[in-house]
């Protein structure tokens, strides 16, 4: 019976898709004279590992996820003086990799299957917020996503919402990974020279950490054992005013450059071990104690973007100073841990350039190639002896340097869109993500892709997944 239910759930998106094929115009996107519009998609995502991971004894399927996604916007009041609108996103999924891959099912804990099989509770309602705008003022309240940053692939200044890295690490679009948070955002646009504008973000009580999977799951982190992972979940603070986060941003245009400066008082989305040794020992040996803490720090940063005519490129830059970020320290590499405040400085410089490549573009009906490159550097300022580095860093490095390259173009009037992203860190890890999107008609999209991951160490950067190269396939019906 259970198998029948599982199979039915697996087949449901396909059946719905077949209904759409029979009536391709079946989904109108606008209702009530354009006051309400609804869009969405049904997607099936399968990731297959050509070689079963040798070290973890995991299965061939790293993902088999069917997703239903619905997004709506409605205009409630439209007056000349003020406007009120209401927006939301509903998402649910069914992850069936455990069901179809016996080896994976055996290698991972069955309790975790239930945890990761579908979206849970309120998480299904990903976003739900109200917008109120009046002249130069605007306020947005509810569960939402706020993005303050210019970088692609890595996040320096964009730190307001945490990420869900539990199901496909950071290899999907941010839109699918970011965890919406209850917050209030407000904007004010001045008439001052330079188009100066102000923005503020206030998170009253909602805290969500970076979502990770336990070891044993396909995208679990080896250093986070299942017991640690369970403890991590328990250590997450409940919603309360003590979780408040507050940020400000000021923007201006100066000589054709868009400049933003921002400040954010935040709680770190990534945990550190508690420095209470008796508690730690008791927790590890007997359980019941919260081993992790999410410490506060201040972020000061900014972004600059502008178009340079000589380079025919958009130049992008982002920087951030984490003031008083907390790190664990240990001189022995094992507990007891200490906690030490450290400042870190990060920056990114990059450019985007659509380029007509000689011969290649001419052969492709004069379609340009989008080239985007970025360089990232993070410095831990005056690192303390025995400082436990973030996973991106080498175990003894105080500097993290990485480069990314994105290439994209379109063939056959953009019905075939190849894309590739390469990231390389000087500590030796990196990844390569090629993909080809094929558009058939107005609704169907097929994306064949892959991931190649490498690294010297299984604890650094993408080295964590160095044995998990994969081929991915997405089929999506969009409406």
């Amino acid at each position: 019976m259970k198998t029948v239910i599982k199979q039915s759930l697996l087949l449901l998106p396909i059946l719905i898709a077949v209904v759409f094929v029979a009536a391709p115009e079946g989904f109108a996107t606008e209702y009530l004279n354009g006051k309400l519009d609804v869009v969405g998609y049904l997607e099936d995502f399968t990731a297959w590992r050509p070689q079963k991971s040798k070290q973890e004894d995991k299965g061939y399927f790293s993902n088999s996820r069917s997703t239903f996604y619905l997004k709506w916007s409605s205009k409630i009041i439209e007056c000349p003086n003020y406007q009120v609108s209401f927006h939301g996103i509903l998402r649910d999924f069914y992850e069936s990799a455990f069901d179809i891959d016996h080896d994976y099912s055996e290698a991972s804990n069955s309790n975790d299957h239930n945890r990761f099989r579908t979206e849970k509770g309120n998480n299904r309602l990903r976003e739900i917020y109200t917008d109120i705008a009046s002249g130069p003022f605007q306020i947005r309240m509810g569960k939402q996503v706020a993005t303050w940053g210019e970088a692609d692939g890595f996040r320096l200044a964009d730190i307001i919402n945490p990420l869900d890295q539990s199901w496909h690490w950071t290899l999907e679009a941010w839109e699918d990974l970011v965890i919406p948070i209850n917050m209030i955002r407000a904007w004010y646009k001045t008439d001052l020279p330079g188009d100066i504008s102000f923005e503020t973000v206030f998170i009253p009580d909602h805290f969500a950490p970076t979502r990770l999977a336990p070891y044993g799951m396909n995208w679990g982190v080896p250093s986070i054992t299942r017991q640690f992972w369970l403890n991590l979940t328990q250590s997450t603070p409940h919603n309360s005013i003590s979780n408040y986060e507050l940020g400000f941003r000021i923007g201006a245009k100066i000589k054709g450059y868009d400049i933003y400066l921002q400040y954010f008082h935040t709680r770190n989305d990534d945990p550190i071990f508690t420095d209470n040794y008796p508690k730690l020992l008791k927790g590890v040996l007997f359980g019941g104690e919260k081993l992790f803490e999410f410490k506060r720090y201040n972020f000061l940063g900014g972004t600059i973007t502008g178009y340079n005519d000589w380079a025919k490129s958009v130049l992008r830059s982002e920087w951030g100073l984490n003031i008083g970020q907390k790190f664990n320290t240990t001189l022995t590499g094992a507990p007891p841990f200490g906690i030490r405040s450290q400042d870190t400085f990060s920056y990114m410089i990059g450019f985007d350039r659509p380029t007509m490549v000689p011969y290649l573009s001419a052969w492709n009906n004069y379609r340009s190639y989008f080239i985007s490159m970025q360089m990232f550097q993070t410095y831990i300022l005056h690192p303390a002896p025995g400082l436990v580095r973030p996973p991106n860093f080498g175990s003894k490095e105080s500097t993290f340097t990485a480069f990314t390259l994105i290439l994209e173009t379109g063939f056959r009037n953009d019905s075939i869109v190849p894309n590739m992203l390469v990231a390389y860190s000087t500590t030796g890890w990196g990844f390569f993500l090629p993909s080809v999107k094929y558009k058939i008609g107005s609704h169907w999209r097929f994306i064949l892709g892959g991931g190649v991951y490498w690294g010297h160490s299984k604890t650094e950067g993408m080295g964590i997944f160095r044995n998990n190269d994969e081929v991915t396939f997405k089929i999506r019906y969009e409406f």
Partner: protein, 420 residues
């Protein structure tokens, strides 16, 4: 004493003569400068009406197109004449109807007549608003007239586009977008005229695209700002919903395809680049049948690269060759038909870098009521890649012309504000 008297006489005679010459010239200007000038009037109009008695109401297709061959661009005639290659296409002939410019445009043009000039680098001087050259003599002057007219100063239109593969007889919906266009300078019809008083940044025009369909384009809001300074490239921004942020966009490749269509960024409205980027040559004037009152629904045939049903009337066009100054530009040249009455570009041929015919683009317009009077707007457009037998037709649904659009809409803050 005698010499002084003589000098006075000479100065007096010279001054009087100069004044007479000035008066003669200005009176000649005021009598000869005739603008607005309909395509046909008087005797020529009678001749056109006589011709129309034979043709108006008729559907022209491959069987009878030879009868109007002289009134069609050669490339269009070829498409109608050879349905086995291009698919069957027909159009309907309607009578010529004069489209009177708005009062604001007439006033601005007459007030500034004779003040504008174009230098050898195709840069315009001495122009504020209106038609800079009511009686153009050169290709560059015609090009500037085409560029200067604002067609009601503001516009909100919804556009739908398709991709048609003529070889496979297949179609794909390209998308639907709402487009806001507003001129900040060179305005003629909607106050403030000729320019917003607080236009300190020197904006010429703002363009805002809200993409509605398909899903992978939905929610993208693209803002493009053009400056009065023609040496300055446009500013472009896009709100990308997947990233939830506004991203600065490069405007370097204006010869690049728009969203995978056959048309490029420069192809919008016939030519949407800076005028100084080309050299211009007036080839001839030609009477052609073009869609100028073509607001009836078109009748596309699935898989056909061109659509039937355009209502065409006889008009007078300037035929101007646009040659790019950039040797690496995607087109080596364009041959453009520019309506002498509305300064629209109803038709153009585009040639590849080897000089071969690559594409043709047609814009069928119709007059609509705007706040400043009657102006034309584009009801349908079609770019046809004749080498690949592929096309990108689109249909426009004008929603408002000449209505006020808040200046705030053309800012990145607005993109964030309405971005979800």
């Amino acid at each position: 004493m005698k010499i002084r008297m003589k000098s006075k006489w000479i100065i007096g005679i010279t001054t009087t003569f100069s004044c007479l010459v000035y008066l003669m010239l200005t009176s000649v200007w005021s009598t000869e400068m005739k603008w607005p000038a309909p395509c046909y009037e008087g005797k020529t109009l009678d001749e056109v009406r006589a011709w129309e008695k034979q043709w108006v109401g008729k559907t022209v297709d491959a069987s009878n197109v030879d009868g109007v061959k002289d009134f069609l661009p050669e490339t269009y005639y070829d498409r109608i004449k050879h349905p086995e290659k291009w698919g069957a296409v027909s159009f309907v002939i309607i009578p010529y109807q004069y489209i009177k410019p708005t009062d604001g445009l007439i006033k601005a043009t007459n007030d500034a007549a004779g003040k504008a000039s174009v230098d050898n680098d195709e840069v315009l001087h001495g122009w504020v608003n209106g038609i800079p050259f009511p009686e153009p003599k050169t290709g560059a002057e015609i090009a500037w007239n085409f560029d200067a007219i604002t067609h009601g100063d503001t516009e909100l239109i919804t556009n739908r586009g398709w991709l048609v593969d003529g070889k496979r007889k297949s179609e794909r919906f390209l998308g639907r977008a709402k487009i806001w266009r507003m001129y900040f300078g060179g305005r003629t019809d909607v106050p403030p005229v000729p320019e917003f008083p607080d236009n300190t940044k020197g904006y010429r025009r703002g363009l805002l695209y809200f993409f509605i369909e398909p899903y992978d384009m939905r929610g993208i809001r693209n803002l493009s700002i053009r400056y009065k300074d023609t040496t300055k490239e446009d500013d472009s921004y896009a709100f990308v919903p997947a990233m939830r942020r506004v991203r600065r966009m490069s405007t370097a490749q204006r010869g690049d395809s728009v969203g995978g269509g056959d048309n490029t960024w420069d192809d919008a409205w016939g030519w949407d680049g800076h005028i100084r980027r080309n050299k211009y040559k007036l080839l001839k004037t030609q009477e052609v049948l073009m869609g100028r009152h073509s607001d009836k629904p078109l009748t596309p045939t699935k898989g056909n690269i061109d659509h039937s049903g355009t209502q065409r009337e006889r008009i007078n066009c300037y035929v101007v060759e646009f040659t790019s100054k950039d040797r690496d530009y995607v087109y080596s040249k364009r041959i453009c038909w520019i309506d002498s009455e509305t300064w629209r570009m109803p038709y153009e041929d585009q040639f590849d870098q080897q000089g071969r015919l690559w594409k043709t683009t047609e814009y069928a317009v119709a007059p609509v009521n705007s706040r400043g009077g009657m102006v034309t707007t584009v009801f349908s457009a079609n770019t046809i890649d004749v080498q690949r037998i592929h096309s990108t037709p689109s249909i426009g649904y004008p929603q408002s012309i000449g209505e006020e659009i808040p200046q705030e809409n053309f800012t990145t803050d607005y993109l964030i504000k309405v971005g979800h």
